[in-house]
């Protein structure tokens, strides 16, 4: 029994200049789970990402200019809330997230409000080193403590959220650096959602690559510390008050 039958699932794919891979990503998700709806949020792409995604059979929301992953995802969460979806799964457009794990992630929502697909949790071969690794270690440590369970890969963009978390994210999904990954988890935890993780294997990106130079990694560490520190002390005046206000 994979999950409750009546659950409506929306897969949100934030895409920015991904015309080259978006079609195969969509096809793969549709093959793995034909029953889910697919929303591609075109984040102000300069190429034909939106058209390609539409031709591939996905719903496409076109942002008029680039907002970053946070903006694209909040658009997705708002759509999901308004259309009454029970579950939102975020999958990257570049094909590094294997949709075969989609069902597992959704099943994980039985015990948590947010389920993160994590790279370092045993499966897969992803490795980082130097300052980038320290940053990830630090983020994981702090978030684990906050969540009360062990989280190893909090910057993963492969995650599922239930209605409760979607309601929060539709209002509060930061567009700033690391906001879409780390801070959004902090927000979820601080408003009382539970966060779990599931080990997933990620594939190398089909296009582009993560920056690995030491300088950049150090910069990443510094920004991660700042972003995390701010996320922990930041106030969301309306974080709990406006829960559900988005419902139309």
């Amino acid at each position: 029994m994979p999950e409750r039958r009546d659950q409506r699932i929306l897969v949100v794919i934030p895409a920015w200049n991904e015309a080259g891979v978006i079609a195969s990503t969509i096809a793969e998700i549709m093959a793995a789970r034909p029953d889910v709806d697919l929303l591609v949020v075109d984040d102000g792409s300069g190429d034909s990402t939106a058209d390609v995604a539409e031709a591939a059979g996905a719903l496409v929301a076109r942002l008029p200019y680039n907002l970053g992953v946070g903006g694209a995802m909040r658009t997705g969460y708002r759509y999901a809330l308004r259309e009454g979806y029970d579950v939102v799964v975020q999958i990257d457009a570049d094909g590094q997230h294997d949709p075969r794990y989609l069902t597992e992630l959704v099943r994980g929502l039985d015990e948590a409000d947010v389920v993160v697909g994590a790279r370092f949790a045993g499966t897969g071969t992803y490795r980082a080193s130097g300052p980038r690794r320290w940053a990830m270690w630090l983020l994981a440590k702090v978030l684990s403590r906050l969540a009360g369970v062990r989280l190893t890969d909090v910057t993963s963009g492969f995650r599922a959220a239930n209605r409760r978390a979607v309601t929060v994210f539709a209002d509060h999904y930061p567009a700033e650096y690391l906001g879409d990954t780390v801070e959004s988890l902090v927000i979820a935890l601080r408003v009382g959602c539970t966060v779990h993780q599931l080990p997933v294997e990620m594939r190398p990106r089909t296009v582009g690559q993560a920056s690995q130079s030491t300088l950049r990694a150090t910069l990443y560490l510094a920004r991660a510390v700042v972003a995390l520190g701010l996320a922990l002390v930041r106030r969301w005046p309306s974080a709990t008050e406006t829960l559900g206000q988005e419902k139309s």
Binding site: N17, V41, G44, S45, D47, S48, L59, P64, T75, Y79
Partner: protein
């Protein structure tokens, strides 16, 4: 002291004129003009009555009155800059929300009326296009 006087008064009058003209053309909102008019007022005051500055410096124990002036000016500019940063941040948050809403409205519209609605060439803003955007011509539409 007369040069301070002329410079201060001329500068003040010029600034006031510019502010007034901007207000008249609706290029400046009153709430932002207020602070600058205040600044002009203080500048002219100090230019016309330099003793106010010396007196204030004595009162605060600043030995060189000009230093008090510089300190005050720098602090003022700092505060105004922070205020402007705050306003920009608020505007960004608002435009972000609007952009998200626009995309969802468009999606909703297309779903109800079909994508065949006269497709206006996309107005993708290229101003902030990231560096690796090759500047491809709009392929939509």
């Amino acid at each position: 002291m007369s040069s301070t006087f002329t410079l201060g008064v001329i500068g003040g009058v010029l600034t006031l004129a510019v502010l007034f003209e901007m207000l008249r053309r609706q290029r400046l909102r009153e709430k932002y003009a207020v602070i600058w008019i205040l600044v002009v007022g203080i500048t002219v005051l100090v230019a016309v009555f330099p003793r106010t500055l010396t007196a204030a410096a004595d009162l605060l124990g600043v030995q060189v009155p000009a230093n008090l002036l510089f300190f005050g000016a720098i602090m003022l500019l700092l505060v105004i800059s922070i205020q402007l940063s705050y306003e920009i941040g608020r505007l960004e948050e608002r435009t972000r929300t609007l952009a998200e809403e626009v995309s969802l409205l468009r999606l909703q519209h297309e779903r109800h009326h079909g994508a065949s609605a006269p497709e206006v060439p996309d107005v993708v803003e290229r101003g902030e296009a990231p560096p690796d955007d090759p500047g491809t011509p709009g392929t939509l539409g």
